[in-house]
Amino acid sequence: MDFKEKIFQSITYIASICTIVFLFGIILSLFFEGLPVLNFTSIKDFLFSKDWYPTMFPPKFGILSLIAGSFVVTLGALVISIPLGLGAAIYISEIANKRVKEILKPLIELLAGIPSVVYGLFGMAFLSPFLIKVFQVPIGLNAFNASIILGIMVVPIISSMSEDALSTVPNSLREASLALGANKWETIMKVVLPAAKSGVISSIILGFGRAIGETMVVLMVAGGAAQIPDSIFDPVRPMPATVAAEMGETAIGTPHFHALFGIAIILFIITFISILIIEFVVMRRKK
C-alpha cells in the first residue's frame, strides 16, 4: 500500500477510536460519580419519592418531581411540534413547488441553528408576560411556556427528518394511488405517510430526545419549582435544569453532588433507550 494512504488510514482510524474512548469515558465517569447516590438513598426513594430537598438536613433525594417536570414539558413540546413539524414536512415534500421549497427548507433549518439561550430569552421576555395576560395566570415561567419554546425548537428536527423520509417514497407509489382515483390528500395520508412511517417515527423520537435533554430553555423558562404539576401553568423543574442550576453550588463528592450525577444517569438512560428504539425502527425497515 502507498505510504500516504497508510497515514490517511491511520489518522481516520485513530479519530474513530477517540470518539469511542470519549463515549466510554463519559459513561464511566457518569456511573462512577452517580451510583454512590445509592449510599444515601434507596433506588426506590430516588426514583419514586417526590421530595427533592438536597440541602436540607437530612437531605432528601427523590427525583420524581423532576422526572415529572421533564416529561410534562417534553410531552407538551411534542404535542406542539408533531403537528407543526409533520405539517411542514408534508407541505414541503408533497405540495410546495420547487421555488417555495427552496425558500422554506433553509428557513426551517435556520430555526434549528438558533442558540437555545436565544429561545430562552424569548420565552422570558415575550412569552411569559403574554401568557400572564392572556391566561390570567400568576407566573408566566411555567410548564406551558417551556412546552411552547421546546416545541418550536423541535419543529425543525421533526420536519427536516420527516421530509427526508417522505421524499424517499418512490413516485411510482403516488402515481399508483392517484391512478386508482385517490385524490392528493388521500394519497398522502394512505400511501405516502405510511410508506415513510419509520422515518417519521424516528424523527419524533429524536425530537423527544432533544426536548428531554435540552437544558438552557428549561432552566430559563420552566419556573424551577420541584413539584409535580397540577396544571400546565404550574412551574416545574425538569431534570437538566436541576443539574445545571445546582451543580455550581455543590461541593465535589458530597451526597448532593452524587445525586446530581444520578439524575444525569437517568437522562442518559432515557436518551440511550430512545436511540435504541430509532435503530430498531430503522433496522426493521431495512429488513
Binding site: L180, G181, P194
Partner: protein
C-alpha cells in the same frame, strides 16, 4: 385511417397536442379506441407512447410544465373539461405501469385500496377483492396469504396484483404501459392471455415495445413516430400491408 363513423369509439382523441415546456411531444393526435377491443400502441423509444397513454387518465396533469390542447372524449364527454372530476376519470380509466408498483401493504389492502378510498362497505370490499383477484388470475396463488405483504409475491404476480387492484375499481378502460417489459417470458405469456380474457369486460389500451406481442394480443394497432400517429389500423391489416413506409420499416425492425 379508419373511418370514425364506422363504429363508435369508447375513448378517442381530437386534435390532441401536448408539450413538456417547449418540447412538442404529441402532435395533432386523432385516434379512436374501440369498445371491448385490445388496441396496441407501438413505436420507437421516446416517440411519446407513454405520454399519450397518460393523456387518457389525465396522469400528465401531475407533471409541471405540461401543456395540453385538444380533447380526449370518453364517449362524448371531454375528460379535460373543467367541470370533470379527475378522480372520477381515473376510476373509470384504470392504469397498470411498466414496473409493478404494489403499495407496501398486504395483498388484500392493495386490492381494496381504490374501494376504501371510495368508502365501500367491508363486506362489499371483501367480495370485490376476491372477484378482482380471480379476474386477474391471482386468486388461487394468494387466497391463503391475503394478509401477507405484496412484496412477498414474484414480479409477475405483483404485476397481476396491480391489474387486480385496477380491476377492483370496475373500470371501463384499462391502460397498460409496457406491463410485461420487466417480466420473464412465462409471466409475460400469462399476462398476454389475461388481456385476451379481460377484453370481454373492458377496453384495453396497451403500450408495447414488442411487435410480436402487439401481433398476438391486439385487435387494432397504432404506430406512433416522433409524436405523430403515423398509422392506425386493424392489427392484421397493418402487419400484412402497412400503408406508410415508416410503419413498414419499423415493423421490419429497421429502427426502434
Amino acid at each position: 385511417m379508419v373511418n370514425k363513423t364506422q363504429k363508435t369509439a369508447h375513448i378517442s382523441t381530437e386534435n390532441l397536442n401536448l408539450w413538456f415546456d417547449d418540447n412538442h411531444v404529441l402532435k395533432d393526435i386523432n385516434i379512436p379506441i374501440y369498445d371491448k377491443k385490445v388496441t396496441a400502441m407501438i413505436g420507437p423509444s421516446g416517440c411519446g407512447k407513454s405520454t399519450m397513454l397518460r393523456c387518457f387518465n389525465r396522469m400528465n396533469d401531475l407533471i409541471p410544465g405540461c401543456k395540453i390542447k385538444g380533447k380526449v372524449n370518453l364517449y362524448d364527454q371531454n375528460i379535460y373539461d373543467s367541470k370533470v372530476d379527475v378522480t372520477d376519470v381515473r376510476t373509470k380509466v384504470g392504469m397498470v405501469f411498466q414496473r409493478p408498483n404494489p403499495f407496501p401493504k398486504s395483498i388484500y389492502k392493495n386490492v381494496a385500496y381504490g374501494l376504501k378510498v371510495r368508502g365501500e362497505k367491508k363486506a362489499k370490499i371483501d367480495e370485490l377483492v376476491e372477484k378482482s383477484l380471480k379476474d386477474a388470475w391471482l386468486w388461487d396463488e394468494v387466497k391463503d396469504r391475503l394478509h401477507e405483504s405484496a412484496f412477498s409475491l414474484s414480479g409477475g404476480q405483483q404485476q397481476r396484483l396491480c391489474i387486480a387492484r385496477a380491476l377492483a375499481n370496475n373500470p371501463e378502460i384499462l391502460l397498460l404501459d409496457e406491463p410485461t417489459s420487466a417480466l420473464d417470458p412465462q409471466s409475460t405469456a400469462k399476462i398476454e392471455e389475461l388481456c385476451l380474457e379481460l377484453k370481454n369486460k373492458v377496453t384495453i389500451l396497451i403500450v408495447t415495445h414488442n411487435i410480436a406481442q402487439a401481433g398476438r394480443i391486439s385487435d387494432y394497432t397504432a404506430f406512433i413516430f416522433l409524436g405523430e400517429l403515423v398509422e392506425f389500423a386493424p392489427t392484421k391489416e397493418m402487419f400484412t400491408v402497412p400503408k406508410d413506409s415508416r410503419t413498414e420499416q419499423y415493423l421490419s425492425g429497421a429502427f426502434g
